[in-house]
């Protein structure tokens, strides 16, 4: 599959932006500038970026609680993401949602979800809209390995299959749900075989290989439009704790370090160099740009006003 240089550089930039966004966000926590919690996807950047880079603006995604890569992949505005993280009026949700509920309907992101497995049935509905309106688009429903054990996973995949809807179910398998290793949450090695229960195609791939993720999503998009839903499992790893407060007693440092060697960003960087797609200088420039984008976003966010209680009732109901 031929991937344009432009696309490559765009994906690389977004992966670095995601990394820097979260590194910065983690610092803001330490500085006490954010309350609440956050779930970082450092180490998993290739999943959301790879998948979303293969999508059109009119394709929908349903994000997870660990979805900064998904949002950035779907071209969300980093300033507004950061402003939402800081709870500001200029944030995507006017400070009402926080980073567990970032959404940009204009870009096709129907929102992150704080309920594990909560978004999967919504993806079915979004795809139903697309099919009903005869749009040439698909919906991607993201969820984690842990979410695959919720009843919502089962019902959503089954219904999508029965209705032959254009949904691509994407399971980001980072091997853990909080402290629970997949070995303890399911008795199978390959999550993608669950697709068979629904007469659905399933595929598991290396989720740290952004090109592979991108290419398989392109193929899956075509498949899904023609045949109905498919389950794509992206095997990857979360480097940081589950959320802000996680002593990580459930895994070894060695295990984490092994995965750090498989860093999807570094790997992509090397690949781009090796294939002569970009020079070291060009990549360094993208790194700097990403860092600067994040600094700008923080400045934007910090200078933004706090939301006011006066109009708290505004968005409870639509007119």
């Amino acid at each position: 599959m031929k991937i344009s240089r432009e696309k490559h550089l765009d994906m690389y930039l977004k992966m670095v932006q995601t990394r820097k966004f979260e590194e910065k966000a983690a610092k803001l926590f330490v500085q006490g500038k954010v309350h609440g919690t956050a779930h970082f996807c450092i180490g998993e950047e290739a999943t959301g970026i790879g998948v979303c880079s293969a999508l059109e603006n009119e394709d929908y995604i349903l994000q997870t609680h660990r979805g900064h890569n998904q949002g950035i992949g779907k071209n969300m505005d980093i300033n507004r993401m950061m402003a939402e993280f800081l709870g500001k009026e200029t944030g995507y949700c006017k400070g009402k949602g926080g980073c567990m509920h970032i959404a940009d309907f204009s870009k096709g992101s129907l929102g992150a979800n704080g309920i594990v497995g909560g978004g999967i049935p919504l993806a079915v509905g979004a795809a139903l809209s697309q099919k009903y309106k005869k749009k040439d688009n698909i919906t991607v429903g993201f969820f984690g390995d842990g979410a695959a054990n919720e009843g919502s996973f089962h019902e959503a995949l089954n219904l999508a299959s029965v209705w032959k809807l254009p949904v691509l179910f994407v399971c980001t398998n980072n091997y853990y749900a909080m402290s629970t290793h997949v070995n303890k949450s399911m008795n199978i090695d390959d999550i993608s075989i669950r697709a068979e229960s629904y007469g659905m195609k399933g595929l598991a791939i290396d989720g740290n290989d952004v090109i592979k993720v991108y290419e398989e999503t392109i193929k899956a998009k075509k498949y899904v439009k023609e045949h109905g839903p498919m389950l794509l499992v992206l095997n990857t790893y979360r480097w940081m704790g589950h959320s802000k407060s996680d002593a990580q007693v459930y895994r070894t440092k060695d295990e984490v370090n092994e995965w750090k060697l498989k860093c999807p960003v570094k790997r992509y960087n090397k690949y781009l160099l090796k294939e002569g797609i970009a020079s070291a200088d060009e990549l360094a420039a993208l790194d700097s740009k990403a860092a600067q984008d994040i600094e700008n976003a923080v400045e934007y966010a910090e200078n933004s006003p706090e939301p006011q209680i006066d109009n708290i009732l505004d968005d409870v109901y639509a007119d």
Binding site: Y60, L62, G91, Y92, C93, K94, G95, K96, G97, H101, A103, D104, F105, S106, L110, G111, N113, G114, I115, G118, G119, I120, P121, L122, A123, V124, G125, A126, A127, L128, S129, Q130, Y132, K133, G151, S152, E155, A156, N158, L159, V162, W163, D314, D315, V316, Y317, A318, D319
Partner: protein, 326 residues
């Protein structure tokens, strides 16, 4: 005016809205060729086809989740649960997703969907098929909640609910499906706004506030008391959320005596809310007597028909409560 049944009125409301707006679709279990467990959707599959009348597997969570997802993306789904008791499987998509979507995303989206489900006892369907669970959904900001008591209201309110840009839980009453009432001819496109109570009978001596199946029963009580020259006002709130508080307060001020009647079990029922709305208002100063609740006993609905009939308010038990206040 012609008379049709409550079930037919609901069918007409859905069908007319589907003719009017092609974004309206309808999904649920056995709603197609079967016509729904209570026959409400008979003929709709034939008219609108499989693309718009979507039979589902037994999958309440996905029905409501898919409806919410479709609603966020331009459709106006009407989802049916076969019995409202099965909402237990669908609380997440309803409460954590549909109801919160607009607010938590800062107003980016709206979720114009209707969740229809029949509630109530009286059919011998026992504990798991007879509940009146409206109080749960009334306690969820972002949802609207409607319970019609007549064919006329059912049709007018459902049309409004379908056109509403928010998730509306539309709780039908199993025992009313076969009851008949006057409804304008199909061409007559009337709607009834949400949030407006209906004074089914005016009166000056005492107010009964109720909804759903208990409206008819309360009217019976009011009629019986006429012979004793007791003039009872009967208010059907119809729309539980939003609630027509002014109407309740006005009536309480007028009569000074209030009895609240609902079939749902007493503890935690919506009657507490209705009572409090009155007592925490200026109407308090006009009250001559305690605000009484006549509600279902705090028991699951039993199977035996004799027992079943006695665990919910009866003409007798309502009358007793009224008498206590006189």
């Amino acid at each position: 005016m012609r008379e049709i049944t409550y079930a037919e009125a609901i069918n007409e409301a859905m069908s007319e809205e589907m003719r009017r707006d092609e974004n309206v679709i309808f999904l649920g279990e056995d709603i197609g060729v079967y016509g729904g467990a209570f026959g409400v959707s008979r003929g709709m599959l034939e008219e609108f086809g499989e693309e718009r009348v979507l039979d589902t597997p037994i999958t309440e969570l996905a029905i409501v989740g898919a409806a919410a997802g479709a609603a966020m993306t331009g459709l106006r789904p009407v989802a049916e649960l076969m019995f409202s008791d099965f909402i237990t499987f669908a609380m997440d998509p309803l409460v954590n997703q549909a109801a919160k979507t607009r607010f938590q995303f800062g107003g980016q989206a709206s979720v114009p969907m209707v969740l229809r489900a029949p509630g109530g006892s009286g059919t011998g369907a026992a504990e798991q098929h007879s509940q009146s669970l409206e109080a749960w959904v009334c306690h969820v900001p972002g949802l609207k909640v409607v319970i019609p008591s007549t064919p006329y209201d059912a049709k007018g309110l459902l049309k409004t609910a379908i056109r509403d840009n928010n998730p509306v839980v539309f709780l039908e009453q199993k025992l009313l499906y076969r009851t008949r009432g006057e409804v304008p001819e199909p061409g007559n496109d009337y709607t009834i706004p949400l949030g407006v109570a209906d004074i089914k009978k005016e009166g000056n001596d005492l107010t009964i506030i109720t909804y759903g199946r208990m409206v008819q029963r309360s009217l019976e009580v009011a009629e019986n008391f006429e012979s004793e020259a007791v003039d009872i006002e009967v208010i059907d709130i119809r729309s539980l959320v939003p609630l027509d508080k002014e109407c309740l307060i006005r009536s309480a001020k007028k009569t000074g005596k209030v009895v609240i009647v609902h079939e749902a079990c007493r503890t935690g029922g919506y009657g507490g809310e209705l009572s409090s709305v009155i007592v925490d208002s200026e109407a308090f100063f006009y009250l001559d007597a305690p605000v009484k609740r006549v509600a279902g006993l705090d028991v699951p609905i039993p199977y035996n028909p004799g027992l079943e009939a006695q665990v919910v308010p009866t003409v007798d038990s309502i009358s007793t409560a009224v008498r206590e206040l006189l």
